[in-house]
């Protein structure tokens, strides 16, 4: 990966970690804490490692919250778009993983235009 690509990936990962943290906070500080603790205890995924395990994180959200997952995913995606200064991407037909991939593509395009 080029230096530019690595920097972009690092920025995206950091923004994603923050967006997930804030998105989970929307259901309360205690639920967020319990969610992150169990994610680490059951799956050995620490908060900072979620970007590397995003598909698994999404699976866990689905199992824990069922249909309520969409609310959380939208909340995370919206925050992520804001942090990256990109237009909000709808999650109607896409997963959180798909949304992050699309944002990464847009970031790359933005980098090429500069």
């Amino acid at each position: 990966m080029s230096n530019h690509g690595k920097l972009l990936q690092d920025n995206l990962d950091q923004a994603l970690i923050e967006a997930i943290d804030e998105g989970l906070l929307s259901i309360g500080s205690l639920p967020r804490e319990v969610m992150l603790r169990n994610l680490e205890n059951y799956f050995q995924i620490k908060k900072d490692d979620i970007p590397l395990n995003l598909a698994k994180f999404e699976d866990v959200l689905q199992t824990v919250f069922g249909s309520g997952t969409r609310y959380l995913e939208r909340s995370i995606a919206q925050r992520l778009c804001e942090k990256l200064n990109l237009g909000v991407i709808g999650l109607e037909s896409s997963s959180l993983v798909g949304c992050v991939d699309e944002l990464k593509r847009q970031l790359l395009l933005r980098g090429e235009r500069k």
Binding site: G28, L30, P31, E33, V34, Y42, Q44, T63, V64, F65
Partner: protein, 151 residues
């Protein structure tokens, strides 16, 4: 919600809005105001408030109508109804529309502040209880996963 507790004052009388805002700001609350029901609905759609103090008679709608509208968009916001025309009927209607308190004008400063404090304390307790229930639910759901590391 983080930071200061936010309170919305809905009253068409400017002197009341200014005086009430000054008292609440002095107590450390962040205050916003609306002159009628429409403005209150618009503001509550775009801002988060912990509480609203609503005049029973507004220029564009009854305070109880506003209660109904706010109940739909911000069900957990504390709603305090204030009236200069106290009657049993007004009080009953307000309670039925889920006002959390019903105060008569002129409202004493200490009465207003203690009512707000009590209701916000109750709101905080309910929030805490609700968060505990969600946390319990998450714990239960995680137990359905097989632990990856045997104990």
């Amino acid at each position: 919600m983080s930071g200061k507790i936010r309170i919305l004052i809905v009253d068409d009388e400017e002197s009341i809005r200014i005086a009430t805002a000054a008292i609440l700001e002095e107590e450390g609350y962040a205050v916003d105001t609306a002159v009628n029901g429409k403005e209150a609905i618009e503001k509550s759609n775009t801002n988060l408030y912990n509480a609203a103090i609503i005049d029973y008679r507004l220029p564009d709608m009854e305070g109880t109508e506003l209660l109904t509208a706010l109940k739909e968009t911000t069900p957990k916001m504390v709603k305090i109804m204030v009236t200069g025309y106290p009657s049993l009927q007004n009080a009953v209607t307000s309670v039925n529309k889920r006002a959390d308190a019903f105060l008569m004008k002129p409202v004493g400063i200490e009465t207003l502040l203690s009512t707000i404090r009590d209701l916000l304390r109750k709101q905080e307790q309910e929030k805490k209880y609700s968060e505990e229930k969600v946390a319990e639910f998450i714990e239960t759901r995680f137990r359905s996963f097989e632990p990856k590391v045997p104990f």
